[in-house]
């Protein structure tokens, strides 16, 4: 398996007018992966994408795309020529027809894929003679995606590809991304609030919180490592002080105790054995649970 990285950031920081948007972000996006980038609004997702594309300069740390420094002006031109970017604003020239904007965009890219263009016009059922400003949000999103997919890009950076889409269009968009990765060997880095769709198509994820990656890795590893351990005691539950590694959160409530672990259940259970629980349950944790637990503000 190749571990060539399409994107790598280390200790990445970005301050805007005294606000720390990124506070030491470390990311590694292997080539050929579909990488889901999760985080609450304002967590730093869009800022990260802007830094990667050279649209914002890091305050400290480094961001590399295809091994090239994103804050180097020359490298940034190359990065952008090899990357398709779809911003959440989905701004387009509204006066142009669909056909015109496709032709207009194609002219900028020598590697434009006419075959994919024709395929997606059909698959997305885009009305060629309609003006862009008259398109529904779903149509507009599909058009933006088509424009990004047909450029022959090795990397797609997409800010919320499915925001506001109905479930049918949503699935079409996900399908197009999966097909692009499997067919072209490309890499997709996308942000989303739809945890379900990230679980569906991503093989890697990062959860960013307050400008830092609080969880990052292969989704299968996370699914295998994260466990919730529920214990019940005869009397009042003991104070949940664990030395076991990977304890994200431990709470007690009367006779019961709940522990969220990022390193499996065994060490937690081994340690808790001394307190003689009367019952121990281990349940798998969904990505949604992991997300909610890791971005929760400490009280």
């Amino acid at each position: 398996m190749s571990e060539r990285l399409s994107i790598e950031t280390s200790g990445l920081r970005k301050n805007y007018d005294g606000v720390e948007a990124l506070r030491g972000l470390d990311l590694q996006v292997p080539a050929g992966s579909i990488y889901g980038f999760l985080g609450r609004n304002g967590a730093g997702k869009t800022t990260t994408m802007k830094v990667l594309l050279g649209m914002a300069r890091p305050s400290a740390g480094a961001a590399r795309v295809f091994g090239l420094a994103s804050d180097d002006p020359g490298a940034s031109v190359e990065i952008r020529s090899r990357t398709g970017f779809v911003s959440e604003e989905k701004s387009l020239y509204g006066y142009m027809t669909v056909e015109r904007i496709i032709g207009f965009t194609a002219a900028f890219y020598p590697k434009w894929r006419r075959d994919l263009e024709q395929r997606y016009i059909r698959a997305f059922e885009l009305p060629l003679d309609r003006r862009v400003k008259a398109l529904s949000l779903g149509m507009r999103s599909k058009l933006m995606l088509l424009l990004a997919l047909c450029r022959g890009a090795e990397l797609l950076i997409i800010d919320e590809p499915t925001a506001g889409l109905d479930p049918a269009v949503n699935e079409e968009v996900l399908q197009a991304l999966v097909a692009y990765v499997s067919g072209e060997g490309a890499t997709v880095f996308f942000s989303s609030h739809q945890i379900g769709e990230v679980e569906q198509i991503a093989d890697r994820v990062a959860i960013i919180h307050r400008g830092r990656a609080v969880v990052a890795g292969a989704l299968d590893d996370l699914r295998e490592r994260f466990r919730r351990v529920q214990m019940v005691f005869d009397g009042e539950a003991p104070a949940p002080a664990f030395r076991a590694p990977g304890v994200v959160r431990a709470q007690r409530n009367g006779r019961s105790m709940t522990v969220l672990s990022s390193a499996g259940a065994d060490a937690v259970i081994e340690e808790a054995r001394a307190w003689k629980p009367v019952s121990v349950d281990v349940v798998p944790v969904t990505l949604k649970d992991i997300f909610l637990e890791t971005v929760r503000e400490e009280q």
Partner: protein
């Protein structure tokens, strides 16, 4: 469609896919020598990551259940691996069925039984005891 993993189950999708392939072989829906869907078409059809399908196939090959033939695709193994596995699973199913039946007779709910199995698998041999 033979396979339908559920991404929000908290269980890795490649493991679900492996189980579903094994199940298809057990039930005879897939027979020795038959071809499985290609990685790319299957990923696109299920709208899941192609690397996930590739991982499931690699693991299944490692277990001797399927064979990956270069350039030709994935096939259910002809050797006894699949058959042996089927027999083993059949026997295990009988054991599990008996245990589940007994626990039900003792008044445990399906959810409670499922948790007991999960706890046991997570290595809590001695966690037994009463909630009350």
């Amino acid at each position: 469609m033979l396979f339908r993993p559920n991404p929000s189950l908290g269980v890795p999708i490649y493991l679900q896919l492996m189980d579903q392939v094994k199940h298809a072989i057990e039930t005879g829906a897939l027979r020795p020598g038959e071809q499985l869907p290609g990685i790319r078409p299957l990923a696109e059809e299920l709208v899941i990551n192609p690397n996930t399908v590739a991982k499931a196939y690699r693991e299944l090959e490692h277990e001797g259940i399927i064979e990956l033939r270069h350039g030709a695709g994935a096939f259910v193994s002809r050797n006894s691996g699949a058959k042996k596995l089927t027999d083993k699973l059949r026997a295990a199913q009988t054991t599990v069925a008996a245990a589940v039946q007994q626990l039900r007779a003792e008044g445990l709910s399906e959810e409670e039984i499922r948790r007991l199995f999960e706890a046991e698998l997570a290595g809590l041999g001695r966690s037994g005891g009463n909630r009350e």
